[in-house]
């Protein structure tokens, strides 16, 4: 077990940033800490790195108690949202930094840096300054710099948050492939559920300083522990007293299906390939439904149409928490 976090609490003044965190992060996997802004996920990452001290509890990395260890001794690679490039040093010197601090022989440093430059595809840029690189290139440089010290864990704090949507998507595909190749235990923080679902082996959902659920992307999506997790991983609506995803609802234009909830279409909105309906059901509840354009045409629904709503077979539903 690579990282063990036990009984961690962290307060900033009166604000409880982390409350009773117990978590085991397995070796060699890519784990996402997912949650809304201010939920404590970055604080947890910084506690693992040793950039923040937990008020109580312990952090064990690769079997070594790291709770009182300063960041310099923990041998963790840390990658920042805004790259934290050493602006006055070339790409090569940036990557070599950790090895130079460790006073490794020059030949060894050069060989290692060449290898990493190739790994992150920056060989042609080795003598440039960070200012001459694009955002994506800078973040790859930061990643190579963190990997140079052969860290026991690689920690990434919103690594793609400062990049535009296209580069972001390319870079996270690339991170996934890089990880499959390098196999270093990796923890990354994100507030983007799509990013977490796509890249991570395991997701830890954190909200209000507490862990809501830990599991694989499929487990979380198919069996969310509560309404928060369900709502955070995708759109959610209410149907017949339970929470359900809007695209998991079948729309019938005639009564008769078992368990159908009758209602009336009050709004209809076409967005690209999907049609979003708002249906007011008998008890005054408004349910959001998403159907494909073809389905909408086939059933011929319009505002004012009477419809009967049935959860799709195999749909995930969650009972809402009592308010």
């Amino acid at each position: 077990m690579s990282i063990e976090i036990a009984g961690v609490n962290k307060f900033f003044g009166d604000f409880a940033a982390l409350t009773d965190i117990n978590l085991t992060i397995p070796t060699g996997q890519l784990t996402a800490l997912l949650g809304p802004s201010g939920g404590g996920k970055s604080t947890l990452l910084r506690v693992i790195a040793g950039l923040e001290d937990a008020d109580t509890g312990s952090v064990t990395i690769e079997g070594t108690d790291a709770t009182a260890m300063p960041v310099q001794k923990r041998n963790v690679g840390f990658v920042f949202q805004h790259y934290a490039a050493f602006k006055h040093l070339s790409v090569r010197r940036n990557i070599a930094f950790g090895l130079e601090i460790r006073k490794r022989p020059k030949a060894e440093v050069n060989a290692k840096v060449d290898e990493l430059l190739e790994l992150v595809h920056l060989t042609a840029w080795a003598d440039r300054k960070p200012a001459q690189l694009s955002g994506g290139q800078r973040q790859r440089m930061a990643l190579a710099r963190a990997l140079a010290i052969e860290p026991s864990v690689l920690l990434l704090d919103e690594p793609f948050g400062a990049l535009d949507a296209k580069v972001r998507k390319e870079l996270r595909d690339w991170l996934r492939r890089l990880h499959d190749e390098v196999h270093v235990t990796t923890v990354f923080v994100t507030h983007d559920q799509e990013e977490a679902l796509e890249v991570a082996d395991e997701i830890v959902v954190i909200n209000d300083g507490r862990i809501e659920q830990v599991g694989s992307p499929d487990e979380l999506y198919d069996a969310p522990a509560n309404d928060f997790v369900m709502g955070f991983l995708g759109d959610v609506t209410r149907l017949g007293g339970v929470l359900i995803r809007p695209h998991d609802i079948d729309v019938h234009t005639s009564a008769g299906a078992p368990g159908a909830v009758a209602g009336e279409v009050v709004r209809l909105n076409r967005v690209g390939f999907e049609v979003r309906l708002t249906v007011r059901t008998g008890d005054g509840e408004e349910t959001a439904v998403v159907v494909t354009r073809a389905d909408a045409r086939a059933t011929d629904v319009a505002v004012g149409s009477p419809v009967w709503l049935v959860p799709h077979r195999g749909a995930t539903t969650v009972a809402p928490l009592p308010a």
Partner: protein, 297 residues
């Protein structure tokens, strides 16, 4: 680590829109420009040029030109004065650079009670008259009046009417200059690269030398040049803490005043000319540094 993993083509270069200054045309713009040029001319350019001109002009029947100017500047009293000014300025700048960088790091990188008060206190030397500063130093450190007068007398350490006092007074008046240059740069670059250096194994000292100092280098140089210019030109505080007599605590600025009042105007103009040249040099250095500063990003 095995083969390189193909990377996506790079996009996402940040495009910084060139900052455009709206160029105004029309009668008002010309009037404003004329006013500014006239203002600067009458207030700065003309008086300074008169000093320069007088430095080279014949005085009291003696011929003018570079030769006599050089003669007046190589007079032992003048050499002593410039030597003293440079010594004082050097130590004041060294002290203010070391403390300035330290205080800047403290102000930007640490949160502690009284931080805002400290920040305000640092600006005090800028707003208090140098004469008052000189007076305060005399009241505190002189052997007769000073709070520690007896201690100083016992140890035989003279501060007032001596070079240490001059250095203290000069350091006091130029205290904020390095700090006010360094603090905004430290704030702008943030803490991430220092933290990154530490995560890569650097201790605090290594992070400072290898990362922080190169980052603030130009701000420090800029602050040093400003401090040096301020220190060389300081008069008020120095007047109070120094005896200000020939070969006895007479700095370049005091020399100018003394010679001028002794109707030895030629020597005063010569020394004044050197101060003008030093000031222009400082301006040139600063102008050369400024563009480099914006290249840093």
């Amino acid at each position: 680590m095995a083969d390189a993993i193909p990377t996506p083509l790079d996009g996402g270069v940040l495009h910084e829109a060139p900052r455009r200054v709206r160029s105004r045309r029309g009668p008002l713009a010309y009037v404003l420009r004329a006013v500014v040029v006239l203002y600067l001319f009458f207030l700065v350019v003309w008086p300074v040029s008169v000093v320069v001109q007088r430095a080279f002009a014949p005085v009291d029947g003696k011929p003018g030109g570079i030769g006599p100017l050089w003669e007046r500047l190589t007079d032992p009293a003048a050499i002593y004065a410039f030597n003293l000014t440079l010594t004082i300025s050097f130590w004041a700048v060294v002290i203010n650079t070391i403390f300035g960088v330290g205080i800047s790091l403290l102000l930007v990188r640490h949160r502690f009670p009284g931080r805002r008060a400290l920040s305000v206190l640092i600006d005090l030397p800028m707003s208090v008259s140098p004469v008052v500063i000189g007076l305060a130093l005399v009241l505190t450190y002189s052997t007769s009046l000073g709070l520690f007068g007896d201690v100083l007398q016992a140890t035989g350490l003279r501060i007032i009417n001596s070079t240490p006092g001059l250095i203290m007074a000069t350091a006091f008046v130029s205290l904020p200059l390095v700090i006010r240059e360094v603090v905004p740069v430290l704030e702008e670059v943030g803490e991430d690269s220092e933290t990154a250096a530490k995560s890569l194994g650097a201790n605090g000292w290594q992070a400072f030398w290898r990362i922080t100092l190169p980052t603030i280098k130009w701000a420090v140089v800029y602050g040093v040049v400003l401090s040096a210019a301020r220190a060389i030109g300081e008069y008020g505080a120095v007047r109070i803490v120094s005896r200000g007599a020939e070969f006895n605590g007479e700095t370049a600025t005091l020399l100018i005043q003394n010679e001028y009042q002794a109707f030895n105007e030629a020597a005063a103009y010569a020394a004044a000319f050197v101060l003008v040249v030093l000031a222009v040099l400082a301006l040139v250095v600063v102008t050369v540094l400024r563009p480099q500063e914006s290249h840093r990003s």
